[in-house]
Symmetry: C2
Subunit: 340 residues, 2 copies
């Protein structure tokens, strides 16, 4: 029906207009700025229907309409075309991320880049340990009964822990232990490492057993700990511009939720690679995020995401542009990590 079709065009126009102007949009302005081919009066009728269906709402009687969360959801799912990045933007991504010197650097640059491209708060997760593989395991004696274990993954993460060993150790024993552990674990996905530990302890020389057990235990603890899923956050300054307009009261709770990395990590947990996830307003469970939207995607070359990245901003955001930016950066980060 030409009928329904036009109504959707109206909805799309409302979203676009509101996103760019931040003013409730009225029928007249809509007719003037968008080529809908009908008069304001007709648009008003359509708007009334859209409001009834819950896609838009008016802040007060004599104001224009504003999209609801449901309206944005529909827009994102059905109405927004994929907006390709400009050549300049692609160049910028490349320029910005090349020359990164280690993982920390890659993620730091990514978060700044993403914040700059989207003008939102950017969030980048470190590669999940459990999906990374062991590149090397190093043991440095601190004293006779304490070892420093350093775990290096193929994604470039380095984790360290002090291991209290049950018996005094000599340099040679440590060397043996190091070789043994590296032979066993190098190349193994950390998520699957726990399976190997039992056998390894059983099959190792008696004098090494307690050591193998202690170090392995620490290693498993380290990566099981979900608090070890680190996060880099950037561009919080972007919150401070339209804040009063976009967030009711203050955005303090939002900043708090972001610093409380757990909240974001939970959102990230669900992301898959290559499929961008958009979570809008009330769809977010955490209260501080009910006025915000979260655009995220997993990065990593394989079929399973190594980690996630995304942006957080007001529900009134440029979804098409942000989705494109997030996807592009994720892809590039994936490449960078794969080649190192």
């Amino acid at each position: 029906m030409a009928h329904d079709d036009r109504r959707l065009r109206v909805l799309r126009a409302i979203v676009q207009d509101y996103v760019s102007t931040n003013d409730p949009v009225g029928s007249k302005a809509l007719a003037a700025r968008y080529d809908l081919g009908v008069s304001p009066a007709t648009i008003r009728n359509d708007m009334a229907v859209l409001e009834e269906e819950g896609y838009i709402t008016q802040p007060h009687t004599s104001a224009g309409r504003v999209p609801t969360d449901k309206g944005y959801r529909f827009f994102v799912d059905r109405l927004s075309a994929i907006k390709p990045l400009s050549a300049a933007e692609r160049k910028a991504i490349e320029k910005f991320l090349d020359g990164a010197v280690d993982l920390h650097d890659v993620l730091g640059r990514s978060v700044r880049l993403l914040a700059q491209l989207t003008r939102q708060v950017a969030v980048v997760q470190y590669p999940t340990l459990s999906r990374s593989a062991v590149r090397h395991l190093e043991l440095v004696p601190l004293s006779t009964s304490r070892l420093l274990m350093v775990l290096i993954t193929d994604t470039g993460r380095v984790e360290q822990r002090v291991v209290e060993v049950p018996v005094d150790t000599e340099a040679e024993t440590v060397a043996e232990l190091r070789t043994l552990l590296n032979t066993a674990f190098t190349g193994a996905k950390l998520g699957e490492a726990s399976d190997k530990v039992g056998d390894l302890v059983d099959n190792s020389a008696p004098h090494l057993r307690p050591l193998v057990a202690a170090v392995s235990a620490t290693m498993l603890e380290t990566l099981v700990e979900p608090s070890e899923d680190r996060l880099v956050i950037g561009g919080t300054a972007n919150l401070a511009q339209g804040s009063a307009l976009d967030f009711p009261g203050t955005f303090r709770p939002l900043l708090e939720a972001l610093e409380e990395q757990v909240v974001v990590l939970r959102l990230m947990a669900e992301v898959g690679p290559s499929t961008v996830t958009v979570s809008i307003g009330e769809e977010n469970e955490h209260e501080a995020l009910t006025a915000a939207s979260f655009v995220s995607v997993g990065y990593g070359s394989g079929d399973q995401a190594l980690g996630g990245l995304g942006v957080v901003g007001p529900t009134r955001m440029d979804y098409a542009g942000n989705i494109a930016a997030v996807r592009a950066v994720a892809r590039y980060v994936g490449h960078l990590l794969a080649e190192s």
Copy 2:
């Protein structure tokens, strides 16, 4: 003179009152709330003098007085008694920081703790590489011509770099190289390592020379790079509360300056251990910080600070309390790093 003395008491009262109420303080309120022993009229005379001397100012004619930067400076230097932390606060510090599992964790906890104690933005610098000593240097072959160098310091920092080596290497050569480098560098302050490199290259076996040179060069680059002075920031949400009151316009530039770690690092560069540095308003060179104060101190057990930490907030802050908190946390962090 009893005269001057009272005037200073008035200044102190003004600062204290303004800090806690955030209202320009008038003569009547001052006489009522503080036991100055004189009438409002007298206080008014003193205030007039203080204003003339530049310690206080009035936002507009019929308002109370507000301390100027100069007033705060005087207050900090001469009027504020050291405010010891409560037993509960000491307990909190201990509880909060104990159980930290590695450097990242120690600093992460410190920054959260500091933000919570002071209700300001907290900033913690990673231990400067150049003042750290080498604990271990690890080399992991990535391919025949690329090595991953992992540098572990006695302060718990771990830095990694990929080194392109000029000749193909075998596992045994790498082992030799590792032993050689560790023997040479372990225990050496990184700042002094550059002196050793020349001799080391000359004295090593011919086939190792290019390798030693390549790895050493990368190592020196790594630590010379001042961008490697990392920073952890926390409690930015604290900016969002009195923001409108404390910062002209928006505090966006302040957030930006904080994210631009360089600015803060420059401030940190000057801190010494055990002496708290306070930088007030216009004293800060960076424009975005001219409405802010920065309280910082170095941490580290020796005579030279390993790094710095501090808080940033409006000039209208509880200097005595913040100084105490910053100092206490720095001391505790120093202990933690020394014992690991």
